[in-house]
């Protein structure tokens, strides 16, 4: 809990302060939408290693973190990027080459796990998982789990329903809570203390933020406290959950940010092609990640016209007619 009123810092500083080697991290967003990409690139630039990452369906952010060599372990439901990459390319290679260890859950299970963390309960029950190998096959062996005090000994477990007299299932699956060391999310608006407003779908960002020990928020607009307090019904996360506020316009680029900009199909398609070959992927990293000093420089590199093409229109929140092949 952090009740101070000014948490604004730059991204380099925020990542240095809260993300350390081997820490347990979760990032917000879903496939190619509202991933905290500026923070992802900053972590790659800083050479963060050995991360234990939690995600439900992060596409681009997770794949670039893996490609950048930051990830050792991943608990995930879906490592795909929609039509841009049905299976994330660097993720696939890293798993097939045994470079990262993966524990598979479903989207609902991962969301429940974040919710449990946010609620402060050790687990939540569901019927999802019965009949699936998600229940039977474990990615992290028990002895490895025991070595990490932040991990539960079991991936999940099954118990009988103690309220059977009300009807319902005889048994339920329990999925363990997640408490990330740090959650990073990108939102449309935040104030200096960290109160924030997500526009469009929040995905599981709210639960991910509330479950974490520390939260970094990057935002399109850093606004006065009164702007958010005039319409508090539209805010989701209160300031005391937040530790660092970073103003990063286009902070989700090349993924989209509802009402601000669309995803950049050109960038994402080129990424998919280059990610498929090590030498090309190295070129990609050298040019767009290591080759720029910060996110503003990456945006500048794309050019004004390109950013204009993905600008969201006021009515729909995306860029109608955008060439998306």
């Amino acid at each position: 809990m952090n009740t101070t009123t000014d948490k604004v810092m730059d991204l380099n500083q925020a990542v240095r302060k809260f993300v350390s080697e081997g820490c347990h991290l979760s990032i917000g967003g879903f496939t190619a939408n509202r991933n905290p990409m500026a923070a992802v690139y900053e972590m790659i630039r800083q050479g963060v290693r050995g991360l234990h990452v939690y995600a439900h369906s992060n596409g681009q952010g997770i794949d670039e973190l893996i490609g950048g060599g930051c990830v050792r372990k991943l608990e995930v439901a879906y490592a795909g990027n929609g039509r841009f990459a049905p299976t994330c390319v660097r993720f696939r290679r890293a798993v097939q080459e045994g470079k990262i260890a993966v524990e598979d859950y479903s989207n609902y299970q991962m969301s429940l796990r974040f919710l449990a963390g946010a609620m402060g309960v050790p687990f939540l029950p569901t019927r999802s998982g019965f009949g699936s190998d998600i229940l039977e096959k474990w990615g992290f062996p028990k002895n490895e789990r025991r070595q990490d005090p932040k991990l539960p000994d079991r991936k999940l477990c099954v118990i009988s329903n103690p309220f059977r007299e009300l009807g319902g299932p005889g048994q339920v699956v329990l999925v363990p809570a997640i408490r990330p060391d740090v959650t990073i999310i990108h939102v449309q608006k935040a104030d200096r203390a960290g109160t924030m407003r997500i526009e469009g779908l929040p995905f599981t960002d709210v639960e991910q933020a509330k479950a974490a020990r520390h939260v970094i928020v990057t935002c399109e607009e850093l606004v006065d406290r009164e702007v958010l307090r005039k319409n508090p019904d539209a805010n989701q996360i209160p300031f005391f959950c937040v530790d660092a506020v970073v103003h990063v316009p286009y902070g989700a680029y090349p993924t989209s940010c509802y009402r601000y900009y669309d995803y950049d199909p050109e960038y994402l398609n080129r990424y998919r092609r280059q990610a498929g070959e090590d030498a090309l992927f190295r070129e990609y990293l050298d040019r767009f990640v290591y080759g720029v000093k910060d996110h503003a420089e990456l945006i500048e590199l794309q050019g004004v016209e390109r950013m204009e093409r993905i600008r969201a229109d006021a009515k729909t929140g995306y860029a109608p007619g955008l060439e998306r092949r």
Partner: protein
């Protein structure tokens, strides 16, 4: 009659499976298109919703993923993942939900693998993983499955059971702790396959015009009953016009 592509008849065949008043859980790609087509053609009161929490989106343009900003515009509610999966299982709405799924492998009981080919610990090929598929397969009343008609995809046994179908036949879902329901149809680029009421095994229900039941069978890794198959009514001019002009004029999914 207007000529059509395999992808177009596949989309129309799936759209015809959706009944008016159903709540349609959509994944990425062709399943969205089928749901959009159904809403414009035969199921105007169906509701399209996404695991991301978007309910009854307008979908003026085809989304590239279930989290595309295009699913957020003009919805009834922009909820969260927790909300979306709750709708699939709560007693009021859950039984009205039809899920549309896809996978890398399917067996004769409609069990799906979208996780790995080979051994889980050391996979030959890694795929995206469940996403919301395992959840939908567990919770909803019935599912429609999209597959390419290929021998390597229709397998005697899936390498990894991501999303349970009828599991090992009648009674096995209940024994595993799952609610009733299961796959109702598999829609491919050659045919629509159903599941027998008694055995829950896949059978050929409809082959597409110009495709013989034997050709369908040649593109499967296990035998199914071909005797009940009827040729599918080809897409009408009206169906094609709606699909091309209203649903995917940019041909992002159709090509």
């Amino acid at each position: 009659m207007i000529p059509y592509t395999p992808r177009e008849i596949m989309t129309i065949a799936a759209a015809r499976e959706i009944q008016d008043g159903e709540i349609v859980f959509c994944g990425t790609g062709i399943s969205m298109l089928a749901a959009m087509a159904a809403k414009h053609i035969s199921a105007p009161n169906s509701v399209i919703f996404f695991e991301t929490g978007a309910v009854d989106a307008r979908l003026d343009e085809v989304p590239m993923s279930v989290a595309d900003s295009r699913v957020m515009f003009g919805t009834a509610v922009n909820g969260s993942l927790i909300d979306a999966f709750a709708f699939m299982q709560n007693s009021r709405t859950g039984r009205k939900v039809v899920g549309i799924l896809g996978a890398a492998q399917i067996d004769k009981f409609g069990n799906l693998n979208s996780t790995v080919i080979g051994d889980y610990a050391e996979p030959d090929v890694r795929f995206s993983g469940s996403g919301g598929a395992c959840d939908a397969a567990a919770f909803v009343n019935r599912t429609i499955i999209f597959m390419q008609q290929e021998e390597r995809k229709f397998v005697p046994e899936v390498d990894y059971m991501t999303s349970p179908g009828w599991m090992s036949g009648p009674g096995s879902r209940e024994a595993a702790g799952l609610p009733p329901g299961g796959p109702s149809a598999v829609v491919t680029n050659m045919a629509v396959l159903g599941f027998d009421e008694n055995t829950r095994e896949m059978y050929l229900r409809n082959h597409y015009p110009g495709v013989s039941p034997e050709e369908v069978s040649e593109n499967m890794g296990f035998k199914v009953d071909l005797s009940r198959s009827a040729e599918l009514r080809p897409p009408s001019d009206k169906e094609l016009k709606i699909l091309r002009e209203l649903c995917d004029p940019q041909r992002l999914i159709l090509d």
